[in-house]
């Protein structure tokens, strides 16, 4: 375990990302001084795991930390930021779609540490291979953040706010929207009392293929081979589901245009 020059962390937030990040930092030898959450239950549960103090009011914030991590929902960042005054402490948020500027009134040194992953509270994530995008308002803070990010991941990228927004948008398609395709597939099977597990190996192989190949070249199925008979059959099967039918038609058309 290496020693970290910025070793005292204050964690603002106790959700999925805050939990996973906090646990990783704790295991890497960082000292988590405090965990803030509006609800006592969340703050206490995470604080206990991290041997930290739980606080429910930002007025009780410990001002002797090195790095303050705001890991709350995107639309709560502004609200939290308003309540913080941290002089020259490093303060960062972890959001893909929030500008670095949202932190400019808190401290002289601020930035972003955006881990590109989907986090669930109870599913432990190995940060080692997760891409982390960092951005800072000055060179010193950038170097500090770079070192900090590299202590938990071997896949760190410097990006500006616009690039981060683009990456976040791409991630919505690759993660949230593909997950919704799984959701629709599951719904179709369930409605017909078929076992949803039957798709698991197909989903795994589809995701695996594109590690070494461009997805546009890996496309299979009725749309890409313009198999109208099969597509019409599917649309007929979806006739009672206006929303799915519309999506089927629009995505098939988009596949054919690529």
């Amino acid at each position: 375990m290496s020693t970290h020059p910025n070793k005292h962390i204050v964690l603002i937030g106790a959700g999925n990302l805050a939990s996973q990040l906090g646990i990783t930092l704790f295991e890497q030898g960082y000292q988590i001084k405090q965990v803030y959450s509006r609800t006592k239950k969340s703050a206490s549960a995470l604080a206990k795991k991290l041997k930290a103090e739980a606080i429910m009011d930002l007025k009780n914030l410990d001002l002797t930390g090195d790095i303050y991590i705001i890991a709350v929902k995107d639309d709560a960042i502004e609200q939290v930021a308003k309540q913080l005054k941290l002089k020259d402490k490093i303060v960062i948020h972890t959001s893909g779609s929030t500008s670095i500027d949202s932190l400019r009134n808190i401290s002289k040194n601020y930035g972003v540490l955006y881990p590109l992953q989907t986090f669930s509270k109870d599913k432990k994530v190995d940060f080692k291979n997760i891409p982390i995008c960092i951005e800072a308002n000055n060179k010193t803070t950038e170097n500090n953040l770079l070192q900090f990010a590299k202590s938990i991941s071997s896949n760190v990228h410097k990006v500006n706010s616009h690039q981060r927004e683009i990456i976040h948008l791409a991630a919505v398609f690759a993660c949230n929207f593909s997950n919704h395709m799984y959701t629709i597939a599951e719904a179709i099977l369930k409605e017909n009392e078929l076992n949803t597990k039957i798709l698991n190996s197909l989903i795994e192989e589809t995701a695996n293929k594109i590690k070494t190949n461009s997805p546009v070249k890996m496309q299979t199925g009725p749309a890409v081979r313009n198999d109208k008979k099969t597509m019409n059959g599917h649309i007929k099967l979806l006739s009672g589901k206006k929303e799915y039918k519309h999506l089927y038609q629009l995505i098939s058309k988009s596949i054919q245009e690529h």
Copy 2:
């Protein structure tokens, strides 16, 4: 290696699925008597791998086989079926969306063996864990097919033609449509000169999560938490791409309705 009562196979087709299935059967000790393809190059290449005879005309079909596998494109099955007369030999197709009835004029014993996977010619697939859906026109053929399918996969399901069509439709969403979401993500990153590999671990985790959890419960991102600010920002980024913008709005709406 076990001995197979129906050990002599004739393979009609030399595409991705025919190749992968042929190689698996060959490795399992089946004798592939012939490989048919309209093009000499395809027929010869696969026949060589399987120590089989290559034929380009169905008039030269060996009539002493046990199982005849039609593994051609869905819209070519009918065309091939018209040219076959096989009395009581077992003849099957491998299509998700084609009715078993398409084979009724060929033989007294016919059926379907639909492996639920996406096949690329050069990427070897392990059939052991691939779900295989079978259907037959009578009990004896069903038992024969069941035994045949179980000799290559430990995940065999009896389904009727309607159920198979439903499974195929669900697979289009789970595989082809999720792959198209990867394609769009890649296009967005490329247009902004960003490294497309940055999404790999996110895609892997998204696919992994649903092995043990329902995808609808695993959904994350701006749509499911109704984060209008982020969604509006994304739609603005997509303003020059009418098709992506439309998909973004429609899929986000669908996520919110689930």
